[in-house]
Each structure stands twice: as structure tokens, then as C-alpha cells.
Amino acid sequence: MNSPFSLSRRAPRKVTQPFVTLAHGGGGTAMRDLIEDVFLEAFSGAGHPAPEDQARFDLAALAAKGDRLAFTTDAFVVDPLFFPGGDIGTLAVCGTINDLAVGGARPVALSCAVIIEEGLPVETLRRVVASMARTAAEAGVAIVTGDTKVVARGACDKLFLTTTGIGVVRAGLDVGIAKGRPGDVVLVNGLLGDHGAAILNARGDLALETPIESDCAPLHDLIDVLIAAAPGVRMMRDATRGGAAAVLNELAEASAVGVRLRELDVPLRPEVNGFCEILGLDPLYLANEGKLVAVVPPEEAQAALDAWRAHPLGRDAAAIGRLVAERPGRVVMETRFGGERIVDMLVGDQLPRIC
């Protein structure tokens, strides 16, 4: 079923059944209707769906944009599918755009593979697909190919998405997790932990009411701004699962430097702080979907911050620490009194510490 977006000869029919069934993945007309009515309808507005089993790109046009191809993939299984500030569709588009962009690439196109549990309301699927199309269009990235599978009830949880993306890396730009040097400054583009707190709360088990929304956003434009202001940028990573703490630990290890953070400089929304205080969580480990950690040479740090703060996705940008030669491989938080603690990787998920 490699050509879900291929155009059929007969006029597309609307899907009228309320729920997705196994027939919608069976390769017959039901599947064709689902693809044409739900996916093609939404995505053709966003780009140019391939009339073939694969999308094709003009190499010369790509080569004109930079000197290397970036290629990445990510799977999305978030529960619940819809949460304040976004849904699985916005995540799937933003996540892959961001994975391309933090490598210094300009995103070009995405694919989308969809695994649907039978019984999913068609309306739910339409909403997710509409979010994907809207997010991709706003980001100026096309969804050009894809695949759809329907599995028996219980074989997956409602809806899983996988997006794969290609982009072109700017000529000469060389960022990487091993490129940090002592003296460099660690920046984040805004308030940390919103997505993780929003998801944990949206699951509803904790019966808390918060105004916290996911920060889900495509970051490629913000990264353009950063590279213009700080061409010497050494490293960029979106701080998703494991939060900023995970990125900084990887950086410390790969660059063989120490990372020294200042607790007072870590930007947090008061509600996320309250949420973490109630549940005994550490916001540094909460996931983000619209925040990146960047490492820049000290002489470019102020320009980078100024440029970010002028951008809507970087208003609350902050310098949260610096790289040092001491204690390579370790992330150390300087607490508000000048005490210190080590910020290690977590073993598994952070669980509320209640008792």
C-alpha cells in the first residue's frame, strides 16, 4: 500500500461511516476512499502530493539550498491524542521539522505513515489530519507521501503516526553535540516543561486544573534567526523526551565538558513551577516540543539572545549556564544559594513523588 495519495480515476467518494474499520486498510475501494477523502483532500492543499509510489525531488534544486541532505524520522504515540496546545498531528509535523532544523537544515518535505486502531472515529482522524496539514502549511513544508494501515482493536492505541523528513543543511554550517567547548554559553529559547506538564495533566489521573498548554511549535524559523545572529553556533537540540536535562547530559558527555547551570536563570512558567511543586517533579526533566537548547561561543551569546527575544518563539529566551573544563561529562546545577547538585539522566519516566 505504498501509494496512499495516488489519484484514482473515478471521482473520490466521501467516507460516510463513523468509524475506521479493517476494510479501510484492506487495499480496496474503502481504503481508497479514506485516503482520498481524508488525507489527500487535506494534504494537497499543503504541497504537491506525489502521483506515484514515491515523491521525487529535483537534485539540482536541492543542491542549490546547501551542501548536505538531512534525513530524519520520528514516531508519535502520544496519549491523549488531543491536549491543550496541540494534538498528535501538530506534534508529528513539528517534531520532525525540529529534528531537521536543529541540524542546521532547512526542512523540505515530510512523509507520514499512519497506523490506525479499528474503531477510531473518522472525525478524530480528520481532525488530526487537518492539524497536520495546517501546521505543515504554516511552516512552509509539504507532506508529499505516506502510508496507511488499519490494525485490529488492541494492536495499537487509537492512532500512531510516523513522520520522516528531508532537509538541506546550509553550506558550511557544522553544528553537533560534540562541538561544545569550555567557555561557551548555553541558551534556551523560552519557558521549560510546558509540554510535559500539559500531557501529564491531560491524562486526567491527577485531577489538577491548569492553564498550561503544550509549547509545540516548529522551530526552523527561530533557528534561521539564531544562525544569522550567531554564525558560530556549536550545537542545537530540541529538548523533547527527558527534557533539557537529557540534552545537557548528552552534550556534556559527547563534548567532554562540564555543564554548569544556574537555577535562578532557568525560565519557568509559574504554573509549571506550581505543578512541579505539587507533584514533586523536576521541570528540567519535563518534555518540551517547542524549546531548543543551543550552545554558542561567548562572544555571540548576547547577539543570539537579542535576536531570539525579538522572535515570537523566543520572547523568554535565556542564558541558563555555560560549559566548563571541570568535571567533564557532568551537568551541575548551581542552586540559588551557590550550593550545587548533579543533574543526572533519569532512569525511566519521572513519577510524581507524592509521599
Partner: protein, 99 residues
């Protein structure tokens, strides 16, 4: 053990069930107020009161006078320390070249 956090009661959600809504930095949660209610007064008296919240229960009223008294003792210790005000500065300078 025993994570507890100060919050402010903002509404009575179910007076018969002794449930109220508490606000912690903009995060709200329904809590049991049996341990902080006064038998002689209506529950509405709790609105605006700061309480210590533990696992969904308001466990103690926070005594603002006692808090002020503790801070006063602390301030006196601080006054003995000449450098105290000098230490009340903002963030360490991470961006020295910019100044």
C-alpha cells in the same frame, strides 16, 4: 516523606462533602477540608485562607503571624551579617563580554 505545598482556598466546591478548590501558583485542585474547617463557622470562611496541601487534603491552616515571626527572627540573624544586602544581587553574569 510527605510532600506538602502551600495553597490558597479560592472556592467551596461541595459544602456537604467538605470539598473546596485550592490554588497553587495557578494550578487548581479539589481538596478535602475536614482538617481545617471550623465547626462553628460556615465553610465560606475558608475562602482566601492559605493551607498546607498534602495528597488532596488541606492538612493545616498556615499561620501568617507565625510565618512573619519566623521571618523576623531570620531578618535579625541577617542584620548581624553586614554583607547581607550586598549579596542580594541578581543573576551571575553569564555574558561578561556584553557589558
Amino acid at each position: 516523606m510527605c510532600l506538602g505545598i502551600p495553597g490558597r482556598i479560592v472556592a467551596i466546591s461541595d459544602p456537604d462533602a467538605m470539598l473546596a478548590v485550592v490554588d497553587v501558583s495557578g494550578v487548581r485542585r479539589t481538596v478535602d477540608v475536614v482538617c481545617v474547617a471550623q465547626e462553628s463557622a460556615p465553610l465560606e470562611e475558608l475562602i482566601g485562607v492559605w493551607v498546607l496541601v498534602h495528597v488532596g487534603f488541606a492538612m493545616s491552616r498556615i499561620d501568617e503571624e507565625e510565618a512573619a515571626a519566623t521571618l523576623k527572627v531570620l531578618a535579625e540573624i541577617g542584620e548581624m551579617d553586614g554583607e547581607m544586602e550586598a549579596l542580594r544581587t541578581g543573576s551571575l553574569d553569564l555574558l561578561p563580554q556584553a557589558n
